[in-house]
Symmetry: C2
Subunit: 126 residues, 2 copies
Amino acid sequence: MEAEEHDKRKCPSHISTTECTKMILPVKDALDILSGKWKLQIILSLSFGKKRFKQIQREIPGLTPKMLSKELKELEINGLASRQVYDTLPVSVEYELTSYGKTLKPLIGELHKWGTKHRKRIIGRK
Amino acid sequence: MEAEEHDKRKCPSHISTTECTKMILPVKDALDILSGKWKLQIILSLSFGKKRFKQIQREIPGLTPKMLSKELKELEINGLASRQVYDTLPVSVEYELTSYGKTLKPLIGELHKWGTKHRKRIIGRK
DNA sequence: AATACCGGTATACTTTAGGAAACCAGCTTT
DNA sequence: AAAGCTGGTTTCCTAAAGTATACCGGTATT
């Protein structure tokens, strides 16, 4: 049987499997930053301006301080958000999207565009 | 204290919190389709042509039949991949990206672009 | 004097994603 | 006759993600 022909169609012949995997890494990085139950909502919230901790929490029903704290740290580590402490009494802390963080917007926009079409296609309209 | 001003900067005033949440749903839909440990690799594999079940499994080291089966079903349900059974002996089954599934490419391309910049920025160069 | 606000942390729990191994029927190869 | 191929399913288990609840010190309000 000459069904062998199929077996050659994996990746393009000049590209090894491990190289394919490498191509995927940056995509995964981007996805990691956006996925998780609360990240998008937090990013969206910050995209409307500086926000304080409790303020974000109040805006997003169901979000616990533990999760918020964890996600904000990740955003900070990735350079997407900044944290500023003011020594008012009691201390106030403001979080803000960095200009780098704002570069996520067009990306999220693309996801939104595709997702909207997909919604219409699968779920029916809406 | 008139720190009240901050409290108005949630979502734009003409948009309610629930409406903000709705804006996020399509983005989540798109993310759901791409996230998970194996989906990207499976999609990439299929993007190079029709593939049979075991063939995909062989190409992606570590991928168990259970996960592959589950992910392929999801792709099918979402209209992104098609499944064709040929009644050869033993039966052979071929999976293929639908033309709709191929519309994911530019989206993945955007994620790749952003992710690549992010890698350089955070991890240092590559 | 008690309560509420701020920005969180700590501990314990549940839920979900994913992995490992065995198994199925029916055919082919050794 | 035994082992391997096909395309999967089933069961059991672990690791990770997320939730619930209580708590902290310090100030302000009632």
